[in-house]
């Protein structure tokens, strides 16, 4: 036995950088077991433990943050500034999702431990994606997240529309994973390595990039990523899934996973295939223009707020891609800023739907927002801030996000692209401002007061005010993103 | 032993030599199967205070020959609307894996047809394949009873395979090898060095799962003659039925010899390490010990059948999933800890 063990050279990997992941996994398993022994009345313990997990993970990430890039587990795990910043926002956004979801789930008899356990495993999947540094871990993180999302959508078992959404999501998601995997396998075949660093080094060498098979790989990878991000023409699942899933799940799907998807794009395209930038830039331009156009135009026709926000998401993805396709550090930083801002705004938007809903009534139609000012001036103001921000009106946060990506595009000498983006942003402003009009200038049909818990109202207020405050002082967040992106690009 | 013969008969082409070896393994198995049926009837007979078959030949010793002849003479009836090809294929698919598994079973040091590294895995893979024969038989018969038997059998075999696989992983951890010869050699010392002591729960799980995997009483719901006539082979007759019969008994012998090899020291003498007795029994060849131990486990199979009432189907599932799998998983951790802690006298 001894000789056998000795013949295997085993070096224990440095687990310290992955402590947040290990912590979240352990806590998710603990919560899973604890939840078994709880009655419905004590279910709040699951909820509090989930929040504590996110808090603990945030503390761990913060205390382990050095600003330096650390590789571990034989290069399949990376801890750098981008990973730490994105992880931090993932915890924040997910904590808000959990808080928003509580009352909604209780009212509808959906307050089960599985929502929180799957949510935490989803967080783990996002963390793995954000910190992935090999094709293998990227794919596994993606699947871990996706599996949690499919299950969460289907969790509302008695709802036909939710089951339909889950089925569509599952089939299209599996297709996208297959495409991505196919691209990855070709990439592996050509470069002979799963490690992102090695692939990047291989493709950076001159002359290595003119290979037809490589184009094939890039195309497949981009199609897979576009599916996951929801960029046109691979966006079909987004409206149905957002509409079909129960609102807390929509909130979850719409917010934090986009942060992880951004990291995915950065790791794969920028870190792994920067040598092929000229090739993927064109593809991203097409995706971005189509997304901005289709998202903003179709959103106008939507009467359902969840569907409208879904198309708004598609449009936002278009803007997000603008920063990445410039291929320079400032562009990446602008995109990262955009995705963080987007997550915060989406959180507020869907949070508002939850706030206005109550048992047996979903405030998901535009009419439900009529005369909100009479019912609750404070939350009408919050909603107005969010809508102004999404439309990109100064001085709210959304304006700076759009400004940052447009600036990056102009700097990259693609003025026409910036003009197109502004044009569609103006079209998009229409449907955001329409909600403000409904809230302030129409008569209320509903007069019931808002019934949500104090925690929800508090976080909702913080959410709205943050959009305003960060909009007035965007420099801190901008500097954070610029710092996180310092190691990317040239 | 085979090596010495190998050199002596160096002139014969390899292929012929392999065929001879295969025959040397398969023919005795067939013989054992035949006489195991007689043993079964005799043992159960005496347990039930009867005598058992005693008419054909001296003390009934020719009974299996007579049974075999009878089965060979009978017509193979193929039911109406049965799927002809699959109907005939099924018994072959049942028998083939249970015979192929013997390729890696050692009877003494070096006395093995194929001394491969992953022999435990190989056996596990092959035994898991015999379920196809049962399923196909049930489906191709175009009969309700046969189909229910096939479904029962499929679910049962898949469930117990997990526990069985985990038990084998325990052996693998203890021995540090998947080669059965290595597993036996690792148990040298005395009968207390055999793996049944440190792996007692795994041995129990393995043996009981083995009974379940072979669809023997008290887990014989796949046949369940009081409920579904004869289960998956209700429509079979003559030689096709005989093949199912052969396979069942060959599998029993296989499970028994594997128990002997993995948990009871295989060909090692039980008197090893005992001062006087060890010398006294030194003349006994290793193969005799293996066969004696195998015979004991085979007797247990028969004993179970005579003793226990049949399990109800949901109880079988409960036992497999809720009792055996947790036990094996826990004991894997214990076994791992024992190996790491170099617990004497097994892992020092």
């Amino acid at each position: 036995m001894e000789e056998q063990l000795a013949s295997v050279s085993f070096q224990v990997p440095d687990m310290t950088p992955a402590l947040p992941e290990i912590f979240v996994l352990t806590m998710a398993c603990v919560i899973l077991v604890v939840d078994l022994f709880l009655t419905d009345r004590n279910r709040v313990i699951t909820y509090l433990m989930s929040l504590a997990t996110l808090l603990g993970a945030a503390i761990l990430t913060f205390s382990l943050h050095t600003g330096e890039t650390v590789l571990s587990f034989d290069g399949s795990f990376i801890s750098d500034s981008m990973a730490d910043v994105l992880k931090f926002f993932i915890y924040l956004v997910c904590a808000a999702v959990f808080i928003y979801a509580r009352q909604y789930l209780i009212d509808r008899q959906l307050f089960k431990g599985e929502f929180y356990v799957l949510g935490l495993f989803g967080v783990l999947g996002m963390m793995v994606m954000v910190s992935a540094h090999s094709l293998l871990t990227i794919y596994l993180g993606l699947e871990l997240l996706a599996l949690c999302l499919y299950a969460m959508v289907a969790l509302q078992r008695d709802s036909g529309i939710a089951s339909e959404a889950a089925m569509k999501y599952f089939v299209l998601g599996a297709l996208a994973s297959g495409l991505l995997l196919y691209g990855m396998s070709i990439l592996y075949g050509i470069t002979g390595s799963l490690d992102i660093g090695d692939i990047g080094a291989y493709l950076a060498a001159p002359g290595s990039s003119d290979n037809l098979a490589l184009m094939f790989a890039v195309a497949f990878v981009i199609v897979g990523l576009a599916f996951k991000l929801g960029a046109v023409p691979f966006h079909m699942w987004i409206p149905d899934v957002y509409h079909g899933a129960s609102t807390p799940v929509t909130l979850y799907i719409g917010s934090a996973p986009k942060l992880a998807a951004f990291a995915l794009v950065m790791r794969l395209l920028v870190e792994g295939m920067e040598g092929l930038h000229v090739h993927w830039q064109d593809m991203l331009i097409v995706l971005a223009v189509l997304s901005m156009a289709a998202g903003n135009v179709i959103a106008i026709a939507q009467g359902n707020l969840k569907r409208m926000l879904a198309y708004s998401t598609i449009a936002h993805v278009g803007y997000l891609l603008l920063g990445i396709l410039t291929g320079v550090t400032t562009g990446y930083a602008a995109s990262m800023f955009y995705v963080i801002v987007y997550a915060i705004m989406t959180l507020g938007g869907f949070g508002m739907i939850i706030l206005l809903s109550r048992a047996g009534f979903e405030a998901e139609n535009l009419e439900d927002f009529k005369g909100l000012n009479e019912r609750s001036p404070w939350f009408a103001a919050m909603m107005a801030i969010l809508m102004f921000s999404m439309a990109g009106v100064p001085p709210f946060l959304g304006f700076w996000a759009k400004f940052a990506v447009l600036e990056a595009v102009v700097r990259a000498d693609m003025v026409w692209l910036a003009v197109v983006a502004v044009l569609f942003a103006i079209i998009g402003a229409y449907y955001y401002l329409r909600i403000i009009k409904l809230m302030y200038f129409d008569k209320a049909e509903e007069t019931t007061p808002l019934t949500s818990g104090t925690d929800m109202k508090l976080v909702m207020s913080v959410n709205g005010l943050a959009v305003l405050a960060l909009g007035i002082y965007p420099s801190a967040l901008l500097a954070l993103c610029a710092g996180a992106m310092a190691t990317f690009g040239g | 032993m085979i090596e010495t013969l190998d050199t002596a008969m160096g002139g014969i082409p390899q292929v012929v030599w392999i065929v001879i070896k295969i025959l040397a393994i398969v023919l005795p198995i067939m013989g054992s199967v035949a006489y195991l049926t007689l043993a079964e009837r005799k043992v159960i007979g005496y347990i039930q205070v009867r005598i058992g078959p005693n008419r054909v030949g001296p003390r009934g010793l020719l009974q299996p020959i007579a049974d075999g002849l009878k089965l060979m003479m009978k017509e193979v009836i193929i039911p109406t609307n049965a799927n002809r090809f699959l109907f005939i294929l099924a018994p072959i698919l049942v028998l083939a894996p249970s015979l192929a598994a013997w390729a890696v079973v050692p009877f003494d040091e070096g006395m093995v047809l194929a001394d491969i590294d992953a022999s435990i895995l190989y056996i596990l893979a092959l035994t898991s394949m015999s379920v196809y024969g049962v399923i196909i038989a049930g489906w191709a018969s175009n009969s309700k009873y046969a189909f229910i038997g096939a479904l029962r059998s499929a679910a049962q075999v898949v469930s117990y395979e997990i526990a069985m696989g985990f038990a084998l992983v325990g052996v693998l951890i203890a021995a540090g090898s998947m080669n059965l010869t290595d597993v036996v050699m690792k148990q040298q010392g005395s009968f207390l060095h055999w793996f049944w002591v440190p792996l007692l729960p795994l041995f129990m799980v393995y043996f009981i799962s083995g009974v379940a995997e072979t669809n023997r009483a008290p887990f014989d719901v796949a046949e369940g003659e009081s409920e579904i006539v004869a289960g998956f082979h209700v429509e079979y007759s003559g030689m096709t039925f005989a093949l199912f019969f052969l396979a069942e008994y060959a599998n029993m012998i296989l499970v028994s010899i594997l128990c002997a090899l993995m948990f009871f020291g295989g060909w090692l003498s039980p008197f090893q390490g005992i001062p006087v007795l060890e010398g006294l029994f030194a003349w006994v060849p290793g193969i005799a010990w293996v066969l004696a131990k195998t015979a004991f486990f085979l007797f247990c199979f028969l004993w179970f059948r005579a003793t226990f009432p049949r399990y109800r189907y949901d109880q079988i599932m409960r036992l497999g999933w809720k009792v055996f799998i947790p036990i094996t998983i826990v004991w894997l951790l214990v076994a791992g800890a024992m190996v790491l802690g170099n617990v004497a006298p097994w892992f020092d």
């Binding site: 599996l147 037809l212 094939f216 | 679910a155």
Partner: protein, 205 residues
Amino acid sequence: MNIEPIIFYFFSAILVAASAAVITVRNPVHAALSLVLAFFTSAIIWVLLEAEFLAITLVLVYVGAVMVLFLFVVMMLDINLVPLREGFIRYLPVGALVAIIMFVEMVIVVGSNRFGLDVFGAGMKHGPDYSNTKELGSVLYTVYVYPFEIAAAILLVAIIAAIALTMRRRPATKFQDPSKQVLVKRNERVRMVKMAAENKTTPNE
């Protein structure tokens, strides 16, 4: 005489035939059985590649467990094949065209001129001491321990999801508690009653 190519071509032919049968045969049970055959033959080809551990695992996991459950389900389905085949002829030209285009593209892009032997070189042959199992084991828990653990988490999530989506507690269902059944005492089941002996009387007709 080198027997390896003969073995390879023999089993490859079976593999291709079995795979073709999976998608062409009419009976779903036959299709599933063909898939079993395809798995088994690919395992044999893997053995030729010196990947005996993977080969045996393929048989153990896919042939021995996954396909059994698959077959289990397929056998119980009562599929009416006629509606499934409706429009088959109508869609055939389009489907065939797409398939041919994809095939040609694949051959152009990932054909042997890019991934062939002259680009990557022939695989190395190992001696009799080489153990594929040991090689796999030594990297699986060291170099690839992180992906391995994530894969475990994925499987755990799959279990949670499957149970959360399908398990329904029906309050009306009655369950037995085996441990209670085992621990039952005589007093709980049998009541001993003392009765005075009956007088023997002659029946009066």
